[in-house]
C-alpha cells in the first residue's frame, strides 16, 4: 500500500513538473526537444521492463517503434482511416508481431537472443527501405496527419507535448504498478535465476513473452505518436543505431529502475543539444561521456541518485 501511494504521488509530481516545464523555458524550441525526450522515454521504460527487470536483451526495439510509426502513417495517410483507429490498429499490429516473434525467439538467450532481435530489426529496416510503394523508401513518407482525437486537436506543439506527458505518465504508472506486483516479482525472478523461477511455479516462457509484448506495445505507442508529431517518417530513424541508443538510455539511466529509464532517455536526448556548441568534437564528447558515465556510475543515473540519497539520509529501508 505504501509503495503504491508513493508511486502514485511520484507519477503525479512528475507529470505536473513536466507540464509546468514549458512555462520556465524561454523558447518554444525547447518544447520540440521535450517532445522527443518523452517519446524516447516511453520506449526506454518499456525496454527497461524487458532488459532491466527480466534480463532479456532486445536489439530490435527500434523496429517496433518504426513498424507502428509506419503502420499508423500508412493507414491514416494512404488508406484514409481516422487517426485514432489507425493508431489503435498499428499498436495492436505491433503487439501481434511481437507475440509471434517472441514464440521462437525466447528459446534463445544471451548473445544469441541479441542477434535474433537484431536480425529482426535489420529485416524490418530493409523492408522499410525497399518496399517503396508502401513506405516511400529511403527518403521517407510524407503527408501523415497530426495526431487528433474526435473533438480534440493537438496542432500546436505545446498541446501535443501535454498529450505526450499524459501518455508517458500513464506508461510510467503502468510499469510501476506491474513492478510492485506478483508479475514484477516474476520478471525479476526470471532475471535472477530461470531455474529457481520455474521451481517457484513461474512459467518463464510466458513471462518473457508477456514482457516482450508489453515493451513492444510501449514502443508502438511512442512510434505512433512520433509519426503523427513529425508528420513524416523515414527508415533511418528506426535503424540498428537507434536500438543501440535505446539500450544505452536504459543502462545509463539505471537497469531495473523505471525512473532511471526516464532519466536516461531525457539525458541522452538533451545531451547533444548541449554538446552542439562544440561542433566537430561533439561526437567525441558524446562517446567520452558514455564511457565515463558507465565507468563511474555503474548502476546508472538511478544508482547514482540512490547513492546520493543514501549519503543524505544514511538509514533508509528499501529503495
Amino acid at each position: 500500500m505504501a509503495a503504491f501511494r508513493r508511486d502514485l504521488f511520484s507519477v503525479l509530481v512528475f507529470a505536473l513538473v513536466l507540464l509546468a516545464a514549458p512555462l520556465a523555458l524561454t523558447n518554444d524550441y525547447y518544447v520540440s526537444v521535450l517532445i522527443l525526450c518523452c517519446l524516447n522515454a516511453m520506449v526506454a521504460v518499456g525496454l527497461n521492463l524487458l532488459l532491466g527487470y527480466a534480463g532479456q536483451i532486445s536489439l530490435g526495439h527500434a523496429a517496433f517503434y518504426g513498424l507502428a510509426a509506419y503502420a499508423s502513417g500508412i493507414l491514416s495517410a494512404t488508406c484514409g482511416l481516422p487517426i485514432w483507429l489507425a493508431a489503435l490498429v498499428a499498436v495492436t499490429f505491433v503487439g501481434l508481431v511481437a507475440w509471434l516473434l517472441g514464440i521462437p525467439t525466447f528459446k534463445l538467450s544471451g548473445h544469441y537472443l541479441a542477434m535474433a532481435t537484431l536480425g529482426f530489426g535489420l529485416i524490418v529496416s530493409i523492408v522499410m527501405n525497399e518496399a517503396v510503394e508502401l513506405t516511400g523508401g529511403p527518403s521517407g513518407m510524407v503527408g501523415i496527419p497530426r495526431f487528433a482525437l474526435p473533438g480534440l486537436s493537438f496542432a500546436a506543439d505545446l498541446s501535443y507535448y501535454r498529450l505526450l506527458v499524459i501518455v508517458l505518465a500513464a506508461i510510467v504508472g503502468i510499469s510501476l504498478n506491474l513492478i510492485h506486483s506478483r508479475i514484477g516479482r516474476a520478471l525479476r525472478a526470471v532475471h535472477g535465476s530461470e531455474r529457481a523461477a520455474e521451481a517457484m511455479g513461474i512459467d518463464i516462457g510466458r513471462t518473457k513473452r508477456f514482457v516482450f509484448v508489453l515493451s513492444a506495445l510501449f514502443a508502438a505507442v511512442a512510434g505512433v505518436l512520433y509519426a503523427h508529431y513529425l508528420e513524416f517518417v523515414a527508415p533511418s530513424s528506426f535503424g540498428f543505431l537507434y536500438s543501440v541508443e535505446l539500450i544505452v538510455m536504459v543502462v545509463l539511466g539505471g537497469l531495473a529502475s523505471v525512473w532511471g529509464a526516464v532519466a536516461g532517455a531525457f539525458f541522452l536526448t538533451v545531451l547533444p543539444e548541449f554538446l552542439r556548441a562544440f561542433e566537430d568534437i561533439e561526437v567525441l564528447l558524446f562517446g567520452a561521456i558514455l564511457v565515463a558515465g558507465m565507468m563511474f556510475l555503474p548502476s546508472g543515473l538511478a544508482g547514482g541518485a540512490r547513492r546520493l540519497l543514501g549519503l543524505l539520509q544514511p538509514k533508509r529501508g528499501r529503495t
Partner: protein, 292 residues
C-alpha cells in the same frame, strides 16, 4: 542454370564472406577471454585500413604500411583495455558492452577528425588483373584475403590449443577465479586478448582496403556482419566465426544473384534467424553465454 554465373556468385560470396569472417575472428578472441562482445571491433578493422592508407601515402611500401598499421592499431587496442576495461573489471557484462559502444563512438569520432569523411583506396598488393577460372573472375587481392583468413584461423587454433598464453586465455573465459587460482594473470590475458583482437582486426582491415576501400565509418557495418558471423558459427569458436562469415557472404551473393539484390540482406538474416531457432547456439557453439 548458368554454371559460370553460379561459380562467380560463389567466388564473390567467399570474397565478401572473408571480410566478415576476419572481423568475426577478432570478436572471438575477446569473447574467449572475457565473455564480452567488443562493439569496437569494427573500429579496429577501420583503423587498420586507415592507418595503412596513411602510411602508404607517406611513401612507404604497401607491405610495410600494413605491418605498421597493424602495430599501431594493436597499441590502440592495448590503450582501450587499460583505460576503459581494466579499471572496471568485474562490472556487469552489459555495462562493459556499453563502454565498448562508447569507445567505438570515440574512435570513430577521432578517425573522422584525423582523416576527414572521405573514402580512401589502397593500391592492391599484386595488381588488379583479374584471375579467371572456369569463367569466374576474381581479384588477386581476394586471394590475399582468403589466404590471410585461413592462416589467421590456423594461427589462432594453434594459439588457443597449443600455447600457454592461448590456453590461459581460454581458461579465463571458462572461470576467471579458477584461472586466477592456478596462477594465470587474468589481467594480462585480457590485455593480450584486446591486443591480439586489434592486431587481427587491423591486419584484416589493411588487407581488405584495396578491395573494399575504407572510410572512418566502415566499422559499423563490418562489426554488425562480423557479430552475425560469430553467432552463426557459434560464439567462441574461431573456426565457426570464419565459417559463419563465409556462409553469410555466400548467402548474400546467392540472394543477390537469384532472388533480389534489394532484399539480399533480409534474405540472409531470415536464414540466420531460422537457423538460430533450430540450433540456438549456432553451428559449432558450446552452451550459450548467459552473461548478458
Amino acid at each position: 542454370m548458368n554454371l559460370a554465373a553460379l561459380l562467380q556468385y560463389l567466388v564473390s560470396g567467399l570474397t565478401v564472406g572473408a571480410t566478415y569472417g576476419l572481423t568475426a575472428l577478432g570478436f572471438t578472441i575477446i569473447f574467449n577471454t572475457t565473455g564480452l562482445i567488443n562493439f569496437a571491433q569494427g573500429e579496429f578493422v577501420m583503423l587498420g585500413g586507415m592507418f595503412a592508407v596513411s602510411f602508404a601515402h607517406l611513401g612507404l611500401p604497401v607491405g610495410l604500411a600494413v605491418v605498421l598499421a597493424a602495430l599501431a592499431t594493436t597499441v590502440v587496442g592495448a590503450v582501450m583495455e587499460r583505460l576503459t576495461i581494466r579499471p572496471v573489471a568485474g562490472a556487469p557484462a552489459i555495462n562493459l558492452v556499453i563502454i565498448t559502444i562508447g569507445v567505438s563512438i570515440l574512435i570513430r569520432g577521432l578517425a573522422m577528425l584525423a582523416w576527414g569523411k572521405d573514402t580512401f583506396a589502397l593500391p592492391a598488393f599484386s595488381g588488379e588483373v583479374p584471375l579467371l577460372f572456369l569463367g569466374a573472375a576474381m581479384q588477386p587481392q581476394s586471394l590475399w584475403v582468403l589466404a590471410l583468413t585461413l592462416s589467421l584461423l590456423a594461427g589462432l587454433r594453434f594459439f588457443f590449443s597449443h600455447t600457454m598464453y592461448g590456453k590461459g586465455m581460454l581458461a579465463c573465459s571458462f572461470d576467471r577465479r579458477a584461472a586466477y587460482l592456478v596462477g594465470i594473470s587474468v589481467e594480462r590475458m585480457v590485455l593480450l586478448s584486446f591486443m591480439i583482437a586489434a592486431l587481427v582486426g587491423a591486419t584484416g582491415g589493411a588487407i581488405l582496403a584495396p578491395l573494399t576501400m575504407t572510410a572512418y565509418d566502415v566499422g559499423i557495418l563490418l562489426g554488425l556482419k562480423g557479430f552475425a558471423a560469430c553467432i552463426l558459427g557459434g560464439l567462441g569458436n574461431p573456426f565457426g566465426a570464419a565459417a559463419g562469415g563465409l556462409i553469410l557472404g555466400v548467402l548474400e551473393s546467392l540472394g543477390a544473384g537469384y532472388l533480389s539484390s534489394a532484399y539480399k540482406n533480409a534474405f540472409t538474416f531470415i536464414i540466420l534467424l531460422l537457423f538460430l531457432f533450430v540450433r540456438p547456439t549456432g553451428l559449432f557453439g558450446r552452451s550459450s553465454g548467459e552473461r548478458v
